[in-house]
Structures are given as C-alpha cells and as structure tokens.
Symmetry: C2
Subunit: 473 residues, 2 copies
C-alpha cells in the first residue's frame, strides 16, 4: 500500500460502538429484518474490492423510504454510522464498515414504481437492478443503457456515478438520472429534480447526490431516462495486430463523430479469460467489440465508416454477431471479463484501475501502462470503454504475497499520475471509496476537496453517512 | 406581484453600505477599472427582467482569475456583496444589486484559452460569448451548440444552466460543461472537473456551480464539449392549423426517438413579430422551425419521418431553408423573437415564463396557458423549445398599468402550478433569480430548499455572493 491508498485496517481503528439502546430499537421495529449474525454482517462488510472484510455491527433490511428515514433519524440521534447497501458490487471498498455501524440493505426495495413510456422515463426503488429494469421494459420496446459489469442496483449505480459500455453514446448516470428521492442524514425525505428533461430550478441536488457514494444521504428512489430500442442494432468484433492499433482506431472513430453505441477494447489476456469462462472460441488477440444503433441505413453507414478506419490501422474484417442470441452471448462474456480474469489465477484478488483521459491521450495512457506492467511481470488484463477514454487494467495478485500488492499499487499510482498529467481523472466510473482518496487530492487539489468537505459537514455534521469514504474529514 | 415573486424593492431594503476602506482599496488596484459613475452602475444593476434597476455601489472590470480572487478576498473581509456580471442578459433579475455591493464585470475576460479539436473540448474565460466562441472554431469544422437567445457569456450561461434551441439533441450547459475554474467566496481559486468525458472522482462540484446563479462563487474559466459540424444539415419550416397540432407533432417526433437537432414552436404572434423585425414575410400561423443534423442519408431519413408525422396532424409541406444564409436568417429571427415581440407594443415590458414538462404533458401545458391568456386579454407571444417540453409565453405589459403586471403574474403563477402538477419545473433554462423564489419552494419542497440553504451557508457563510437570489436565507 502506498500513501495514495489509505489502508482499511487503519480506518477500522475509528470504529464507534453501537449503543445497546439503538440495537434494541432496531430489533423491536425490524425483528428478523435486523440481523446480527456474523455471516450476514461479513457478507455486508465486503464488496468486490481487494480489501479485507470490515463487518458492520448489524444489518437492517429496509422495505420503504419511511423505514430508511426512521433508521437514519435513530442513527443520527445515536451518532452511529450507516452504510447504504444495494447489490454489493462496488470495486472500491464503499461497503466496508470501517467505523462500524449499520449496513442499511435496500435490496428488498426492488419495485419498479412507474414506467412512463410516452415520456421515456421510469421511477424505481433503489434496490431494483439494471437487469430487472430491462427485463421489465423490454417488451415495451424500451431499454436503459447504463451497464456496469455487475448486475448492480440502480441506487448504487447513482451513488457511484456508474457508467459502462453504452456511455459513449448514452452518457453515464450523471446524464440519465432525472431525479431522486433521498433520505437526509437527519432522517428527512426530500425529492430532487422532476420528470422534466431539463431544469434551472436552484442547485442541482440530483447531481450532488449522484456520485456521493452514500456519504450525504440514502437514495431510495431513482427517476431515470430510458430509450426506445433502436430500429436496427448490430454488434461486430474486429481483431487488431496490437492494442495500439485498436486504440488508434477508437480515437479516429470518436474524433469523426461516429455515433457508435458501444466501443470496447479487450486485450488478448481478457479474450483468453472470457474464452475459458464462456467457451467463446475467439482468437486471443486484441479486439474491439462494437455495437451500432440506429435506422437500418444509419447502422450500415456507421459500420462501413468504422470498418474503413479499422483497416487503416491493420484491423481485420468485422465478424458480425447477427442474431440477438449471439449478441447477448458476446456482451454477457464482456460483462463477465472481470470474474473470468479472476478465475485464470485461482485464489487471486484483483487490483483494478479506472483512469479516464481525453480521447487524444488514450494511446499514450494505455501503451505506457502496458509497458510498465509487462516490465513488472504481474499477470494482468485490460478491458476498456475506450470510446470514453476509460479503461480498466486489472492486476491479478496473490493476497498471500505482500510484494505483489505493493507492485500493483505502485503501478496503479503511476498510471493515475500519468492520467492526471494527461488531463484525465483517477476514476471514470468506480468512484473514490477507500482506495483512491490520495488520488482525489492529487486530481482535484486540496482547495476543491476542502469544498467537498464543507458540503459534507453541512449536510451530515455528525458524520454518520458512510464515514471514512471519499476523503478524511 | 403575488406571493410567489418577492418584490425587488423589499429586498433592496437590505442594502449593506460599501465601506470606504474597501472602495479605496478597489480604486487603488483597479483605477479606472473601478467605476462609480451612476450610468455604469445603473447599467450593471439591471438585466432583461421587468424589474426596476437596483444599481451596485461600484463596478469592477476584472481581467484575470487572480483579480477576481483578490476582489473576493477583499469583499469577504468587508462582508460586502459581489454580483458576477457577464453579458447582462439574465431574464430573472440575477444582476440586480438588491443588497448593494460590487458588480464584478468579467466581460473583459474574453480570451479563448485552448481549443483541443482532437478531443472536442475548449477552455474559455468566463466573459467569452457563445457567438465569439463559434466564430473562432467554425473554421475548424466545429461548433458549440448551446444558444440562449441572447449572445450571452459562457460564464453566465454556466451559472444559469442555460440551454436554447439545440438542447433537444445536444443537452444543456449541465451536460456540456466539463470543468470550471471557480473563485470561492473566500477568494480561493479551485478547479472542478478535468478534460475527461466522465469521472466518478468525488462530489460533482462542476454540476453544483453550474446553475448556482453566482451565489456560491465566481466562475472565471469554463471547459466545454464542442462538436464536429454535421456532414449534412438542413432547416425546415412547417405550418400547422393550430398550436395544438404543432405540439402533437413534436410529441410524436420525440416519442419515436427521431434525433432532431432543433424543434422550435412559434405561435402566430411570434411569427408576426419576427416578420416585422426581420422582414421575413412568413405566413402568420403556428409553425415549427426544425433542423436536422447527420449524414446526407440520415438527414433525409429524419426529415421524411418528421414530414409524415406532421401531415398526420394537418401540417403542411415543409419549406426548406436550403442555403446557409437562409438558415442563418431564420435562426437569427428566432433568436430575435423576444426583442421583436417587445417592439410590437412600444414602451412595454415582458413577463416571461419558462416552464418545462414531460413531453406527454406538453399539449395540456400549452393549450391551457393559451386559453387563460386569451381569456385575460393580455397581448402575448409563444416561442418554445418544444422538443424538450419547454416553452416561453411572454406577457407584454404596460409598466404604467399595475393591473397588467398583476394579471401577468397571476397567469404566470397558474402556469407554474399547472407545470408542477404535470411533474415539470417552473424554469427550464432561465433560473430562479429574484422572480421565482416562491415557485422554487413549491417545486422542490421546503426540505430540499433547506438542503440548498445549508450548502450556501457552508460555502458562503457571510452571504456575500449574489445575496438575495434563488432563496431567502
């Protein structure tokens, strides 16, 4: 661990005890929906990050906004930390109860409250997952595009400002959340935004809570933009002689303004991993996995333009996923890349990076990172939302060998510093959590982080909402 | 005036005196760039709103971020209000010095600092106007789409979360600002965001300052997304038998997901006004003014689809603006609609509304508003960014006849209450300013406005930044 990544075990020293009176009150109201069994607590004290478990003192399964408000009012009274929990798919330690307290599980708040097909909006409870939403609206010819790899909850996706493979065309949670129901740290219920597409009505509270990582309140309902399924939709694979060639192709696509819907890089390691996991039989070479949305003519036109660009950089002829089944198989494999890669080294953990840079700097950003990890000799894989300038390099480390983690953290820090030099960000979509707090200061500067701290203290003066995340207070 | 629109003259009672020591310090540093002449102060104490002038005590013309920081540190020390001033084109009283203080004019900070054509980003000083930017980048085949009617400054456009005619396709300032340089109320310079397209690095300070109406700090630099000029671009006019027919057509266009770039409604009154002002010779009937962007084939396809939809609702054959000159003439006339309408009733002022509703509610929103103003007998005009569900109904009132203003305010309040019932917002793009503070509370609720107040107090505890705007503290 280096100075840029504060170790969880140190933060854990700040644990605050859970007052007996509070636990009694929770048990009285929630009965078996207030769990203190170690297994449940441990399951809620971890996420997909490589950190050790930091279990909460208890887990409460809320079923309504009112229940969330009741828990927060109680926690506020007792100065007890509350960590909102959705699907548990964070990669940055967001869910670890580093100061103890209550894990507030909203996964049972999984009702799709309203579908307004005619306005292309939906309102869902925070525990609804992205797949659940898409399964519900698909029959109406609609879809919700934001797709982090995991089947995350929409509340959690809002809280980490998530994106995924479609962001290059459809934007991230930042652009697709219309409004929220939020419970404040004092237990008050507020509503941000409306169902209008745009508004200049006061401070943009919606965008303040989107990406706040559970540190300013609990998101209990989310209103989202949805989209008509495109008339035509086609997915293609293109193999390249090198990662650089695939990246140069991507840069050209974006600079020409081609409205590509998905443009994903997989390096040869990732292709090998998904081959093993999903029996795909793909050639193990760097590839772009792309998707085009539009009218029949529009899709054909886009694909032709992109094929031409790819050829200039040595890309091969597109291989098409022509049936919906073939397409789904490919994208499912892409979404399994992280888990697939973990399985290539039994018992390993993954240190994942998430830099995002302006598109013209992407080649430098990736090429240098590859050079460094090759030199260091750690196993790794790369998947990238390269159309956005965002990619993930995963270092596969043996948790029993401290030097492997140290190497991974060193490489990760170098990559972030390069991204910042290139005017990018340390995190495109995973958030700061526990792991990137030093990077945030390097990126935003002490002055901007101080402004964030002032906002946090103003809304949560007792520091009960997911304390220890994003920044030290 | 009704309870929803706090009268400026009451707020003016809170004027704080400008300490002599502060004025001396400003004069010593800025010499003739610190003006106290009544004419300059009055020019800076008004905007395009119908409110009376509330002049500041002095006007400082800043030329750099450092000068802005110096002024704010001084104002903070002396507890003196500062009102950032760009182009003076606010419609909601944002620029009125209702508590006195310094108008900080950044219009001389008008340098385009960087154009990164390969990343489709620019960085400009806050005083650069949208036309200045477009004139600078057009030769590179690029454009910036956000276009409020006036040739506003980009700092001011960020501060009010402005949009305009292209928002239906390209989004508003919310979606198009990548990052900001901001001077805090204590005079510290911070940078928000990076040049990356997306980021999950901490609280979204960029989106907090976008739309903060000068109440949280002074925006001195703005990094923006820009776009390649489309390969093909065509503008068309379509006349309809009624406003309702034009609106129903719009609803259908949006619901079908046609990627129309501009979709503007002008009622017969607006057409008459622009005819008089710009000698257009258009038929004086409700019309949609539309623009299509894309490839040659894509534009033809979109136009064909839209023409078909329009015919279903009685729309006539499209009339095309085939040359760039004809197109520019049409859009210039559209942008002059507000001024043109003012000239149809000499000596009048305009009370402008700005509601925005989900697209399926737009017909009800407009039709009822038209019915009410026709009943009341006030002269009016309608222009609308109807593709977004946003329209402006302007009531033309004689300032010497108080009952006309009362009627206009009553109708405006009814319109807002209807928009809120229809799950929309009281302001799509003009902001709250002085005029809509009551509406903001009705829309967001006391709880959410309290959260806004907490944020304001945390960042500006001495309430020096544009005090009296958005909400009462």
């Amino acid at each position: 661990m280096n100075a840029s990544s504060p170790p969880a075990h140190l933060l854990a020293a700040e644990r605050r005890p859970l007052p007996a009176a509070m636990l009694e009150a929770l048990k009285a109201r929630f009965a078996e929906r207030c769990a203190t069994a170690l297994a449940v607590r441990e399951q809620h004290g971890r996420d997909e990050s490589p950190f050790d478990v930091a279990p909460p003192d208890c887990v409460v399964f809320a079923q309504s906004t009112e229940e969330v408000a009741w828990v927060l009012a109680l926690a506020h009274e007792h100065h007890v930390p509350v960590i909102p929990y959705g699907a548990g798919s964070s990669l940055e330690g967001h869910l670890l109860a580093v100061q103890g307290g209550v894990s507030l599980d909203v996964s049972r708040m999984n009702e799709i409250l309203r579908v307004n097909a005619e306005d292309l909006t939906v309102t869902v409870q925070a525990g609804v997952s992205r797949n659940q939403l898409n399964n519900e609206i698909r029959h109406s010819g609609l879809f919700f595009p934001i797709d982090p790899g995991a089947d995350a909850s929409l509340g959690g996706m809002a809280a980490t400002r998530a994106s995924g493979t479609n962001a290059v065309r459809y934007g991230t949670m930042r652009e697709n959340v219309l409004g929220l129901t939020v419970v404040t740290p004092q237990g008050e219920i507020i509503r941000t935004g409306s169902r209008a597409r745009k508004s200049s009505a006061g401070y943009d509270l919606t965008r303040l809570f989107v990406g706040s990582e559970g540190t300013l309140g609990v998101i209990t309902e989310v209103s989202l933009r949805i989209y008509p399924l495109p008339e035509a939709l086609s997915a293609a694979i293109c193999f390249f002689p090198s990662i650089d060639a695939a990246v140069q192709t991507t840069i050209q696509i974006i600079q020409m303004g081609v409205p590509i819907a998905r443009c994903e890089l997989l390096d040869a390691h990732s292709v090998r991993a998904v081959n093993l996991h999903d029996k795909l039989g793909l050639r193990e070479a760097p590839m772009l996995l792309m998707e085009f949305h539009g009218s029949q003519a529009g899709v054909a036109e886009q694909a032709e333009t992109v094929q031409e660009i790819a050829r200039e950089f040595g890309g091969e002829d597109f291989e098409w996923a022509t049936t919906p089944e073939a397409r789904t198989k490919l994208w499912t494999a892409r979404h399994h890349a992280y888990l697939s890669a973990l399985q290539t080294k039994p018992g390993c953990r993954c240190v994942t990076t998430d830099t995002c840079v302006p598109i013209s700097r992407l080649a430098e950003s990736i090429n240098e990172s590859v050079r460094e990890v090759e030199e260091a000799g750690l196993p790794y894989f790369i998947v990238g939302h390269v159309g956005d300038g965002n990619f993930h390099l995963g270092y596969l480390i043996d948790p029993a060998i401290p030097s492997e983690r140290e190497t991974a953290e060193r490489l990760s820090a170098q990559m972030v510093q390069r991204a910042l030099r290139l005017e990018g960000t340390c995190t495109g979509e995973h958030g700061i959590g526990l792991h990137k707090q030093g990077f945030l200061v390097e990126e935003a500067g002490e002055g901007a982080v101080d402004v964030m701290r002032k906002l946090k203290k103003a809304l949560d003066p007792r520091n009960i909402m997911n304390p220890g995340k994003i920044f030290a207070l």
